[in-house]
């Protein structure tokens, strides 16, 4: 495993050099995440201070991306919004990753009735249009961060389970798994020692795709007012508020939209790069 031999930093540099596009995605994503993490300490201004400048003012030195209808500076607000988007989508995707991997492995290895039951439930979840599922959950639990997280997790779960199950099925047919079974290895040992470490590559790739879908869904829900509630903002809610003033103050919408598109693009580029790295047909295998 090269990672252990050469250290993660040199592996990352190698990755950037080999695959410029996804390297760029990785760097962009890292920059955005750092921006969100350290945003409060950067001299961007207070996202919630009202009347920092005139209302709906064009960009100027005190408010680099203009001000909104309450005279709040737009720049710190979109950084704040991006952080909410990352945080909600990220939390949801971590949940998807944990449960999706577990469910997929159990379905693949248990087989038979358990597999069939799990996969039919997953199919049912798959059948819901994503936004409809989000609205249903918001209606049941009330709008807010928690229901947004739950909605994103349930929307990204079905594909995740399917991918993990498919990879685990092929791993389970390998000689070392059969040899372990002959030696009397139990269900847990096979799943934890043999299957889990060998589906992780696929899990990581799938996590990046789930994250980009999650960010999109979070923005959609917030745009409809079903995500984070004021005074908190996410990119989706900023887009909705800004859309009212689209013709007179386009700086409310465009920077937020552009930031969201850039963030999702960077996640997708990174995901494509990781897939190319692991896919045996398209590059050297990651072991």
């Amino acid at each position: 495993m090269t990672l252990l031999v050469r250290g993660p930093l040199s592996e990352l540099l190698d990755f950037v050099r080999r695959d410029r596009l996804s390297g760029a995605g990785a760097i962009l994503l890292a920059t955005l995440v750092l921006l969100c993490l350290f945003g409060p300490w950067l001299p961007l201004g207070d996202p919630e201070e009202i009347g920092i400048g005139p209302r709906l003012s064009v960009p100027a030195s005190g408010w680099l991306l203009g001000t909104d209808e309450l005279g709040r500076s737009v720049l710190p607000r979109i950084v704040d919004g991006l952080r909410s988007t990352f945080l909600l989508a990220g939390t949801a995707v971590v949940l998807t990753g944990l449960f999706g991997t577990l469910i997929g492995l159990v379905a693949a290895y248990a087989g038979g009735f358990v597999d069939m039951t799990i996969m039919r439930l997953v199919d049912i979840l798959f059948a819901f249009p994503p936004l409809l599922l989000g609205i249903l959950i918001a209606a049941a639990l009330g709008p807010g961060g928690t229901s947004a997280i739950l909605a994103i997790a349930l929307i990204t779960l079905p594909l995740f389970v399917r991918v993990v199950r498919a990879v685990a099925l092929s791993v389970a047919a390998r000689s070392y798994v059969i040899a372990a079974e002959v030696s009397g290895a139990g269900f847990l040992r096979v799943i934890l020692v043999h299957l889990l470490p060998n589906v992780l590559g696929a899990v990581i790739i799938q996590l990046t795709y789930a994250l980009s879908i999650g960010m999109l869904v979070e923005s959609e829900l917030s745009f409809l007012g079903l995500g984070v509630q004021p005074p908190d903002a996410s990119l989706g809610s900023l887009l909705r508020l800004g859309s009212v003033y689209l013709t007179i103050a386009p700086w409310l919408v465009f920077p937020a939209g552009l930031l969201l598109a850039t963030a999702i693009l960077s996640v997708n580029l990174l995901g494509d790069g990781l897939r190319d790295m692991i896919d045996p047909l398209r590059g050297r295998p990651l072991r």
Partner: protein
């Protein structure tokens, strides 16, 4: 006298056809009776789909027979595999998947020990190193990962893992088929030497009868799920008593695969007669009407009406 290590008594495995309109059953293995004694190797040959691997899984208790019984040392299989405590092991075909790529190979080799919990953990490392030298590898290799090793080395490690609990019975399922010829003979010699020192019973499955010749004491020939001939290796390679075995042996002697001139007629078997009759150059009317069972023929067991004539030819 001790019971044989593995004993199959008229064992069959049938699968229910999954198609809705087709209520038929598919027999993967039927009516197989055989026994493998301590220190003996049964070489199992036959074409793809003849049921060799299924028979191997039956012997290991990985699948339950739908007819007949499988016994281990005269006992039925325990309910939980863990109770076997490493008495059974397997070595399979693909060296690239022989070992978990995420584990150091020493851990993989030690796995049957950790499952059986038969050894205090302090002694495991020494046992693994000992086993590695037994299969002709440097003990320092235990710290490597599988992708740092060659196919032959990985297959040796798979053998080390199989033998680390000193099993009574080992199945080698196409264990050398993916290796090139020089590595093949090294690994075959290794298996032979280890059997001489460890005394395990073995089932050696191969589609290649040149390979079984090196290691097997007895040869069994499978055809469409049935054992059609069983004979001591020396007799088998000199005078096969079944037309199918004879054809297999011809490919060996003449180094010419074209000698195997039968058409593939799978699915068009004579319903009542011998399964092989539609492909058999020796077939007479009786073969299409009357199914031959295994019978003793001059030291061999053959399922052919004309076994004596085939053997004499």
């Amino acid at each position: 006298m001790n019971p044989p290590v593995v004993h199959l008594d008229s064992v069959g495995v049938t699968y229910q056809s999954r198609r809705l309109r087709d209520s038929g059953t598919i027999a993967a293995v039927s009516g197989v009776t055989l026994a493998i004694e301590r220190g003996q190797t049964l070489g199992l040959v036959g074409e793809s789909g003849s049921g060799k691997t299924t028979l191997g899984k039956l012997c290991l208790g990985m699948i339950r027979p739908t007819q007949g019984t499988v016994q281990l040392n005269g006992q039925p299989f325990p309910r939980h595999r863990r109770e076997l405590k490493g008495r059974l092991a397997v070595v399979l075909q693909h060296p690239e998947w022989a070992l978990n790529p995420r584990l150091r190979v020493g851990i993989s080799v030690a796995e049957p020990l950790s499952i059986a919990r038969s050894l205090p953990s302090g002694k495991v490392d020494a046992t693994v190193e000992d086993m590695l030298s037994k299969v002709g590898l440097e003990p320092v290799l235990a710290r490597r990962y599988p992708h740092e090793l060659s196919g032959g080395q990985r297959q040796r490690l798979a053998i080390a893992r199989a033998l680390i609990t000193h099993p009574q019975f080992v199945v080698f399922d196409e264990a050398v088929s993916a290796l090139d010829v020089s590595i093949q003979s090294q690994v075959l010699n290794l298996i032979k030497d280890l059997q001489a020192s460890e005394g395990f019973a073995a089932l050696f499955i191969s589609h290649d009868i040149a390979v079984t010749r090196y290691v097997a004491h007895t040869i069994g020939v499978m055809y469409q799920g049935e054992l059609v001939e069983q004979a001591p290796a020396s007799t088998f390679y000199l005078k096969p008593k079944h037309p199918y075995s004879r054809a297999l042996r011809l490919t060996l002697a003449e180094e010419d695969r074209a000698a195997f001139t039968f058409k593939d007629t799978t699915g068009s078997e004579s319903a009542r007669g011998c399964l092989f009759s539609v492909r058999c150059p020796w077939a007479v009317d009786r073969c299409f009407a009357d199914k031959p069972g295994l019978r003793d023929v001059e030291g061999s067991r053959s399922a052919c009406h004309r076994a004596e004539e085939v053997g004499a030819a």
